[in-house]
């Protein structure tokens, strides 16, 4: 297939995935998702040599599969091993890198074209609108991260900036500057919003919240945020020396900021994927049975690591995601994250211990550390 033809396919896929993102959430259109997923897989089979080779190795190719769940998951390791991008290198507008949880691990790299970035922005807007802003309310957004200009490779900063652009009131900003997080400045900004009666959305990495809340507790700071405020914490505590339970984090947020648990949304975002997975607590208006729910253009399965077959509800396994906004990068991802399927979504249990010790020479450094 000529590259011109490929570009036509690419732009058709962009249009069709965009339309799916704008389509109604209920009922979920599984037929349309499936048709698109198979087309994207075929496109990637033709234009991403790694996807083709892995598909050939596993015997599951565009000609042999009929359902999205049969698309071979590309291990997240692949994003460390090589650059995965369907287009020409000159089409790359942005490269994101993961920080890596281990000193010795090389970062994951995800490449985006301008069109890819636009599709990611679209996905973020609709997804966050559903799970973080279901009340349709705009808030002042404070982000416990450096701004994209200071962290150009950090996909989280890029995504959070989108949230400010789409949903932030005036005064929204990134709170980590060249000197790091300055608690005094954070407190005064939160207090100001409180006094003005402006609801805030506080966004950051989960461990960033813990640091901030620890500092607030130490300083005896309590800032009851205006009604309508909420938090969004990303990731969890994998690879951190200190782990905090969800309940403890919710309690601390309530104690320091007067934000109720059902307004604390956790999100799973990965450098490898353009879409994220949000907790459904705000949509359901309860923090009970917190779970992540797929948007209509994503799917998540929990797999047995040996057979790579789906495990039953409630059984732990590795998380496998399908994300149709990953048109330029592998559409299906087999992760190192452990999770479990629940009645209305999935929960993340953490990262498999030893998954970084993955048989490359790097793990020797870990051994010698």
């Amino acid at each position: 297939m000529s590259w011109a033809m490929a570009m036509i396919h690419h732009s058709e896929l962009l249009t069709d995935v965009g339309a799916l993102i704008d389509a109604s959430w209920e009922p979920a259109d599984d037929v349309r998702l499936n048709e698109l997923a198979c087309r994207i897989f075929e496109f990637q089979y033709n234009h991403l040599p790694l996807v083709r080779r892995l598909a050939d190795q596993s015997g599951r190719t565009p000609g042999t599969i009929t359902h999205w769940s049969e698309i071979p998951g590309v291990p997240s390791l692949a994003f460390k091993a090589t650059e995965l991008f369907v287009g020409e290198r000159s089409d790359v507008a942005q490269v994101f890198e993961s920080s890596g949880t281990s000193r010795a691990a090389s970062p994951s790299r995800a490449l985006y074209s301008q069109d890819g970035l636009a599709l990611m922005a679209h996905s973020i807007r609709v997804n966050a609108g559903r799970f973080l802003m279901p009340d349709g309310r705009c808030t002042r957004i404070f982000v416990l991260a450096p701004p994209p200009a200071a962290a150009p490779h950090m996909i989280m900063a890029w995504g959070m900036n989108r949230l400010i652009e789409d949903y932030g009131l005036e005064g929204s900003e990134f709170l980590i500057g060249p000197k790091g997080l300055e608690p005094g400045a954070v407190f005064s900004k939160l207090s100001k919003a409180e006094k003005e009666g402006v609801p805030v959305t506080l966004i950051g990495a989960s461990f960033g919240f813990v640091h901030l809340l620890d500092t607030m507790a130490e300083c005896g700071q309590q800032i009851p945020c205006a009604p309508g405020s909420r938090t969004l914490d990303a990731g969890g505590f994998k690879g951190r020396s200190r782990t905090v339970t969800r309940e403890a984090l919710d309690q601390a947020i309530f104690d320091c900021l007067a934000i109720a648990p059902e307004r604390n949304v956790n999100v799973l975002g990965m450098t490898e994927l353009a879409s994220q997975f949000y907790d459904d607590v705000m949509v359901r208006d309860t923090a009970l049975d917190r779970a992540k729910v797929n948007a209509p253009w994503t799917r998540t399965r929990v797999l047995d690591p040996v057979s790579l077959q789906e495990v039953g509800h409630g059984e732990p396994g590795l998380l496998w995601h399908l994300d149709l906004t990953n048109i330029e990068r592998p559409v299906s991802l087999q992760t190192d994250d452990l999770g479990v399927q629940t009645s209305h979504g999935f929960q993340v249990l953490g990262r498999a211990k030893g998954a970084e010790a993955r048989g490359c020479s790097l793990s020797v450094e870990d051994l010698l550390a």
Partner: protein
């Protein structure tokens, strides 16, 4: 089935409370009784065992003790011995190892726990086992070896049915022994102690088996302060933690993380038929499901022989599959399965990204028994559970470069040369260089999991380290 994660001598003045834990696997259930332990428990136990050592062990001859241990090994070698049947069932349930593997482990361990081996091991390290009973004549005078009063053992769970080795080594030098069994496999040692009690109650009164949870610092402190010599098995963090918390005066023997490998010379690969060799190598990767410190983590194959590394890997696939039937694999925990999946995927990715040094030999869904061919610049730790890495190697110089960064972890090397001894000089050179590098045991493929009791485990005189010598020069008392 109810089993205790502890064992105390019947006369010991301790009455332990316990908590029950129900373990389930494949529809079968096991109730494990964990002792409730305080630092006082440990202190009382240490005192009691010291007294028994003085009362019982000092006056018994070493051959007498060894005869009793030999009888215990004999009863354990009977496959229908009820405690053994119980142990096989319960350990399999608790650890996920197949019953066949646990059964096989007990055979291997007990076969090397016989009278002849024990005496030979003592003679090997002390010169003469009778030195433990009194002064024996030596060229420059006479000498007497005195063991410690109380040895403390800290055990790991990676090999079923191994902790009794420490108990034997202690008793062989007339020391009482207090063992701390692991969270993962606490069941075998109490059953073993029970059979020592059945064969020789007096000897068993010098044994204690206990467990405390790893966050019970007071219990550990009482233990480390109450023993004379520590023999500890465990991961790097476990060993480092124990080292840090041990009193400076405590003598200790450490058995931490180790790596083994096979090396097959060009001469070995020049045979028309390597299936028998593949079968032995596959056995080494199979036994204890590759959890032992002795287990191979790579099979280095010299290039240029009639059989290429890739062809040999193909033969290993069949051999691994045969062993999967004979000794069925462990039921994997999620973490173990993820580690294998990760290693397998990494190889698959190297193939898919066009790395010519890598070939995948087994299909995707086959994780236990996987065989991959891959080049390595530095020997990489392999996940356990029958993951075979065949690493092509040009020559011994390249091997040394590959091993040097991990030299402090090296332990056992299985070497196969030309069957008619055609590369004898090369093999002799290889053996010397490996010994210099840090390898502490050389054997033939197929023997990695079955060291003799004579082996200087991790390069140490395990019995010799336990004793203190009293040398008598000529003319004393004359």
């Amino acid at each position: 089935v109810n089993l205790q994660a502890f064992w105390l001598p019947p006369e010991c003045p301790l009455d332990l409370d316990y908590t029950e834990e129900t373990v389930e696997r494949g529809g079968r259930t096991l109730v494990v009784r964990w002792p409730v332990v305080t630092s006082d428990t440990i202190t009382v136990l240490c005192e009691y065992l010291r007294e028994q050592q003085e009362k019982v062990l000092r006056s018994r001859s070493v051959t007498d003790i060894i005869d009793a241990l030999d009888r215990v090994a004999e009863v354990w070698l009977d496959s229908e011995y009820p405690p053994r049947v119980k142990a096989v069932d319960a350990i399999s349930l608790m650890t996920g190892f197949s019953k066949e593997m646990v059964d096989h482990s007990i055979d291997l361990e007990q076969r090397s726990s016989r009278r002849g081996e024990m005496l030979a091991a003592l003679d090997n390290e002390l010169g003469d086992h009778r030195a433990l009973d009194g002064f024996v004549e030596r060229p420059l005078g006479s000498m007497h070896a005195v063991g410690p009063a109380l040895v403390g053992g800290v055990f790991s769970a990676n090999i079923p049915a191994l902790p009794h080795l420490t108990v034997m080594r202690s008793l062989m030098v007339k020391a009482a022994c207090l063992g701390r069994v692991s969270r993962g496999e606490p069941l075998y040692l109490p059953l073993y102690a029970e059979s020592v009690a059945a064969v020789d109650p007096e000897l068993a009164s010098c044994l204690g088996v206990i467990h405390w949870s790893s966050d019970n610092v007071q219990a550990e402190e009482a233990f480390l302060g109450g023993i004379d010599h520590l023999i500890a098995y465990g991961s790097e963090p476990t060993i480092a933690g124990l080292r840090q918390r041990s009193p400076g005066t405590l003598r200790a023997t450490w058995h931490g993380h180790r790596m083994g490998f096979c090396y097959l010379t060009r001469g070995a690969m020049d045979q028309e038929d390597c299936t028998e060799l593949a079968d032995r190598v596959a056995y080494d990767f199979t036994v204890f499901d590759q959890h032992a410190c002795l287990a191979p983590q790579a099979c280095f194959v010299e290039t240029g022989g009639k059989v290429s590394p890739t062809e040999f890997a193909g033969q290993l696939v069949d051999a691994m599959a045969r062993w999967m039937t004979r000794l069925p694999p462990k039921k994997l925990s999620l973490e173990e399965a993820m580690a294998l999946r990760s290693a397998r995927d990494w190889a698959a990715l190297r193939v898919a990204t066009g790395d010519e040094g890598v070939e995948l030999i087994t299909p995707e869904e086959c994780l236990q028994g996987s065989v991959v061919v891959e080049t390595q610049e530095v020997m990489s730790p392999s996940p356990p559970n029958r993951f075979v890495r065949v690493v092509p190697m040009d020559d011994v110089d390249s091997l040394m470069t590959c091993l040097r960064p991990v030299r402090r972890f090296l332990q056992c090397a299985a070497i196969e040369g030309c069957p008619d001894g055609g590369d004898e000089v090369q093999v002799a050179n290889l053996k010397n260089r490996l010994a210099q590098l840090g390898v502490t045991r050389l054997c033939a493929p197929g023997q990695m999991g079955t060291p003799s009791m004579l082996w200087h485990h991790d390069g140490q005189a395990c019995l010799g380290q336990l004793v203190r010598w009293c040398d008598e020069e000529k003319g004393v008392g004359s």
